[in-house]
């Protein structure tokens, strides 16, 4: 089982929603579409499902051209951000409904409904109506209905976005387990980098209608091919600083510099862009060869177990991350340290020219 997009694009009223895209998804894989709102995730999914017809290109399912084939005639299941269930039917009948339409016999329906209900922890709720369930249970009911069909392609469009963060946390742990048990091709759209990492599998990062990179999730995260991918796959966004290479050294401004080693040594002298993630800005402690930058603390955000510090570095906005919850005074000067091993170097066109040394070691 494979799903292949060959030169697929989509335009609406002369506007390009999806630029020419080639993508192959293999049987039994989890594929995350990661990108901000309006980057093309839903458009791409609708093309995969057959809800929309591409302007150019072909959709190939198991080697067979299905471009233009109606969604009803394809083996596709879809789950949306809004919980969609039949309110007048019990949870049991909701899950059974696609099988009844397919004309599956009664005992087989019963077996599959119970199996999926068990997987989604809905067994005690089978006789209830969807509106008598919590938000998380309603979405699990919608998920069970999508899974029960044994569709070869399961599309999930931000399925956890409308849930409380605690429920989201629980389902994020469950979804990879469900997926492992099924063997279908899963496509999962999300705006959140952390969700993509938790789901694992492969990721396609999307930006303004283009897939910027596709590959195993942790390697796209640690080895982005350009600054756009790094920005999309970092929350809060990656920090950037204009730097230059002169002779054997990289000059970071503020009188800070580091020896050009490894891949960086091969670069021509000139101007580059350094990128580094919030969690790699060290505060309060640092490695011996780390570089020091003086910043002003403009805002802190507390997430419950982490503190995000928003910093002003000569008018540039940087974000740092400290583990634990800390009460810091806004407006204070704050020294932050950066280990050169954590720095990605991008060319002026945004392409990665030297990966961060730590990412190659990991």
């Amino acid at each position: 089982m494979t799903l292949e997009l060959k030169g697929v694009s989509k335009t609406v009223d002369g506007l390009t929603h999806i630029y020419t895209t080639d993508l192959t998804l293999e049987k039994g894989t989890m594929n995350v579409l990661l990108g901000p709102t309006l980057s093309g995730k839903t458009s791409l999914m609708r093309l995969m499902a057959g809800l929309d017809v591409p302007a150019t290109g072909q959709i190939i399912w198991n080697g067979k051209d299905v471009t233009g084939q109606r969604v009803q005639d394809r083996k596709v299941a879809m789950v949306y951000q809004q919980f969609i269930n039949y309110p007048s039917m019990s949870v049991y009948d909701n899950i059974a409904s696609p099988l009844k339409l397919m004309g599956v016999d009664k005992s087989e329906i019963d077996r599959r409904v119970r199996e999926n209900a068990e997987l989604m922890k809905l067994t005690p709720m089978l006789d209830r109506k969807p509106l008598e369930l919590s938000g998380g249970q309603q979405q699990r009911c919608a998920l069970a209905r999508a899974l029960v069909k044994n569709a070869g392609l399961v599309l999930l469009d931000e399925p956890l976005a409308n849930l409380d963060y605690k429920l989201r946390e629980e389902l994020r742990v469950e979804i990879p387990k469900i997926f492992e048990a099924s063997g279908s091709i899963f496509v999962y759209a999300t705006t959140e980098p952390e969700e993509a990492l938790l789901l694992g599998g492969n990721v396609a990062t999307l930006w303004e209608g283009r897939i910027t990179q596709f590959g195993p999730t942790p390697s796209v995260y640690r080895q982005p091919i350009d600054a756009t991918t790094a920005r999309v796959f970092s929350d809060p966004p990656m920090n950037f600083l204009a730097i230059s290479k002169t002779g054997g050294r990289i000059m970071f401004g503020d009188g800070q510099s580091a020896p050009a080693t490894g891949k960086i040594a091969e670069l021509d002298d000139g101007r580059y862009l350094a990128g580094f993630r919030p969690n790699h800005l060290e505060i309060g402690k640092h490695e011996t060869d780390a570089m020091e930058f003086k910043t002003t603390l403009s805002v802190t955000e507390l997430t419950g177990s982490e503190t995000f510090v928003h910093l002003d570095h000569h008018g540039e906005r940087w974000v740092g991350l400290i583990h634990g919850v800390h009460n810091l005074t806004l407006g204070d000067e704050l020294s932050v340290w950066l280990d050169p091993r954590h720095v990605y170097i991008f060319g002026e066109d945004g392409k990665l020219v030297a990966p961060a040394a730590y990412a190659l070691a990991a």
């Binding site: 709102t37 409380d164 963060y165 605690k166 952390e194 990492l197 507390l302 419950g304 177990s305 009460n327």
Partner: protein, 358 residues
């Protein structure tokens, strides 16, 4: 601005409540200090909206009194309480311009036009809508409309309190932290008494000086974000604050020793004999895997979330989470676990027990 006192307050939606279970809001005594920023945090159905509606006067409590600066307002209608409210969904007058929407509460109270126009300008700058003042509200996006609602809530300086009921639900995620921090800045600049209801921990902790955590109709802890993280007073606080939440493990405590199924550890403090359900709580941040030291554990799964790793493990039949650094090695032979005893709390029937110096 005013101090708000809740005196023996409780509420049931039933006409004749019997047991405590019938109360959506269980008995509560609390002073909301003048000029402080509070967040009311809990999952849906915990009673936080009930409490907010009692403070605003939309709901009459079945028991107890509510006082603004020691004056009893329990029976006063909403209009007389002199409060501003911002709701989950935008409330704007579609046919009016943004300017007239913002000016509405001031004109309603007969403020002169020079003041109105100055104040509207100030607020517009704060919510970043200066260049939209002459636009009609109709046709604006949901988050622009919600910004108008926020601005209108803050336009009057003479209100007793500002109440926010999940005001950022419709705001785009990228705008959220900006508005959250603007609200916080506003609080610092003007010193309004603010109560902010939310189920989102980041919103609550970022905005508030003090967070009031509610669970099942009861206030389970009032504390600073740091206190909620380091010393959750109730196991629910430990679970609800932090991602993943605190690990809770059944225990038997004898003095300064905790017996945890097949293992034992020394605690930082000494405890008197405890009755009922006894557990220890330790956050994933304060648990460490090891090859050689500590208690036995089975690692089930390692999740790489980029900035750190979440390790899902089983500790004598209890599922626990461990957080390890991005660069920390995790190998198959790490089958021991250490709980940092300075960060282990002891709970009896879900409430934290204070120990004594060992």
């Amino acid at each position: 601005m005013a101090k708000i006192t809740l005196d023996n307050l409780a509420h049931s939606y039933l006409p004749k409540p019997g047991s405590e279970d019938d109360f959506a809001l269980k008995e509560l005594n609390h002073d909301w200090e003048d000029g402080a920023a509070y967040a009311l945090l809990g999952s849906s159905g915990c009673g936080k909206s009930t409490l907010l509606n009692i403070i605003s006067g939309l709901l009459h409590p079945s028991q107890g009194r509510i006082l603004f600066d020691d004056k009893d307002v329990t029976n006063a209608p909403t209009a007389e309480r002199n409060i501003a409210q911002v709701f989950q969904f935008p409330v704007v007058y579609d046919t009016m311009s943004v300017r007239d929407n913002l000016a509405f509460p001031l004109r309603n109270r007969g403020r002169d036009e020079t003041y109105v126009s100055e104040r509207v300008q100030e607020i517009a700058q704060m919510i970043g809508m200066e260049d939209m003042l002459n636009k009609k509200a109709r046709g604006l996006t949901a988050d622009a409309k919600q910004k108008i609602s926020l601005g209108r809530g803050m336009v009057r300086k003479d209100v007793n309190a500002l109440l926010f009921d999940e005001p950022l639900t419709v705001i785009d995620p990228h705008m959220k932290w900006e508005l959250r921090t603007q609200l916080k800045k506003l609080h610092r600049d003007f010193g309004h008494t603010m109560i902010y209801v939310t189920h989102d921990q980041t919103e609550a902790l970022t905005f508030a000086d003090k967070v009031v955590v509610m669970y099942d109709g009861r206030v389970v802890q009032i504390g600073t974000p740091q206190e909620l993280f380091e010393r959750p007073e109730h196991t629910f606080v430990g679970y609800f604050i932090g991602s993943p939440g605190m690990n809770v493990i059944p225990a038997r405590i004898d003095g300064n020793t905790a017996y945890l199924s097949g293992a034992q550890m020394e605690l930082a403090q000494e405890y008197k004999p405890l009755d009922g359900k006894v557990e220890i709580g330790v956050r994933p941040e304060f648990v460490r895997l090891s090859q050689t030291e500590g208690m036995p554990v089975k690692v089930r799964r390692v999740e790489d979330v980029g900035r750190h790793k979440i390790i899902r493990a089983e500790f004598f039949g209890t599922d626990i989470n461990i957080i390890a650094g991005e660069a920390d090695p995790v190998s198959a032979d790490m089958n021991r676990v250490i709980f940092d005893n300075a960060h282990v709390n002891v709970y009896a029937n879900d409430w934290r027990v204070q120990g004594e110096a060992a």
